[in-house]
Subunit: 260 residues, 2 copies
DNA sequence: GCGTTAATGTTAAAATTATAACATTTAGTG
DNA sequence: CACTAAATGTTATAATTTTAACATTAACGC
């Protein structure tokens, strides 16, 4: 180890702390050493900075891109979610006030919202908030509280009251399990209050779930299937799936199962 | 424009949404097109993905490294902030419940919090929340509301009540202006309520400002200098600055001006 | 179905980045 | 003050990425 090396890394780390990248050339100049020395610092020492195409970037750093390569499989999962969201998008109209549920299901929808002139999004999820915060045309209301890392969302005891005060137009709800008899469920109990409150106040309720969630029951029940006006799903088989497995779903339960 | 191109980008965007990088080679395989096509998508279309050393990374995307090159000057600015935060760090103790103000001043502090065993952070800023959300040892409480992009923070009418309910130990407050006669001020009015509430409830109040903020007045006044227990600043000259320019600062106003 | 245009693929050359080997400087020691 | 070893610098070479030009394929209108 070397004191100077550590000093250089600290300097570079702070330069990169709030994001951005630093070209190796500039980093070398900044520290007044050769590029090779910076290279060696980065490989020799234990550091959070990694070198990516000649540029220094922060890795494994809070809020900043961790540098690891996604496998193709990981990446390809998003296709299904994307298609699902494209269908949900059809229900969104100019000027809507949307409640967007937590989870990864609705994420692909968010970037599409930039095509509207003006919208409002209400959410209790950090990942959703981040995606929406980047859209200048969308007003963002985040319902805060204690952060739950597993679902990237917040929970608080006055979530229900906070949601009821808002004029939510359409609620886009996701779920981890949908079962004809046992209803709609999710993994985490703190999600129940916001989901139920949104369902209660929204004028239109959309359940957005891919077909793999059907006939699945998860720990936290939050709604019956017929609490929703629309079920947006991705596979042709899904409506059948809803009709089999127990008894036939009343027409009114899934008035608009959207199938491609 | 091209529908397929947009589809590919959406797919890639979703793949990268949760961070990580994707090698151009893998991105091409994933979309079943040549690397050149992906390259063209990225340069032709308006997208948040950028190519860095042969890898796709999310740019200008919430919570993820924006890809722009820091100038040497910009880079060296962070040194000052880092040193400032190092001093503020000295006041933080194991188990504390910290109120962390919005702005960029306190950001370098957050990564240092990983060295504690257990802490709680209360904030109303999105960038702070993102940084803290990544720390497994820190409990995060985010005070939500309507999002203000200019300060990356939230404002709501029950912010004061929400803060008063929390047992905040130490308040770390930043400011855009500090003046002996005109007090401590910031740019945005929605920041006033949370700052004041935190100052009111916290057991210890720290004003963390670099010396460039002294003798500056900004639109939104929120506190007098002697509302704080400690002023953490970065330059040797700062205490003098506080004493000049009007009259002498009473000893009690700045009980612990921390100087290197 | 043919012609036209846009989209995509292929290839080779140019530019950039990474690696390795060796030269030089610097710091510490007796 | 010389000797040693670590740290840093330099150079050449290899690998990779970028760019540009041109070939091919697919989509669309008439």
């Amino acid at each position: 180890m070397n004191g100077r090396s550590a000093l250089r890394l600290a300097k570079l780390q702070e330069a990169l702390a709030s994001g951005g990248t630093l070209h190796l050339r500039d980093a070398a100049e900044l520290c007044d050493v050769s590029e090779m020395t910076i290279r060696r610092d980065l490989t020799t020492q234990d550091t959070a900075i990694s070198l990516l195409g000649g540029r220094l970037v922060m890795a494994n750093y809070p809020g900043v891109t961790p540098i690891y390569d996604l496998t193709e499989q990981q990446a390809s999962h998003y296709q299904a979610k994307y298609r699902l969201c494209q269908r949900a998008l059809a229900y969104i109209e100019e000027g809507d006030t949307l409640f967007i549920d937590c989870g990864s299901t609705l994420m692909p929808l968010l970037s599409q919202l930039s095509h509207f002139r003006e919208l409002t999004v209400v959410t209790y999820a950090l990942n959703v908030a981040n995606a929406v915060a980047a859209l200048p045309n969308v007003r963002l209301v985040l319902l805060g509280g204690l952060f739950y890392a597993t679902s990237q969302s917040f929970g608080s005891d006055n979530m229900t009251a906070a949601i009821e005060r808002l004029g939510i137009n359409k609620a886009l709800i996701s779920a981890a399990g949908v079962d004809l008899e046992r209803g709609v469920s999710c993994f985490h109990f703190h999600e129940v209050a916001p989901k139920q409150a949104a369902i209660a106040t929204a004028m239109q309720r959309l359940l957005v779930v891919d077909a793999s969630k059907f006939s699945v029951v998860r720990p936290a029940y939050f709604a019956a299937l017929d609490d929703f006006d629309v079920v947006v799903t991705d596979e042709e088989g899904a409506p059948q799936l809803l009709k089999k497995n127990g008894r036939v779903v009343p027409e009114i339960v899934v008035p608009t199962v959207t199938v491609a």
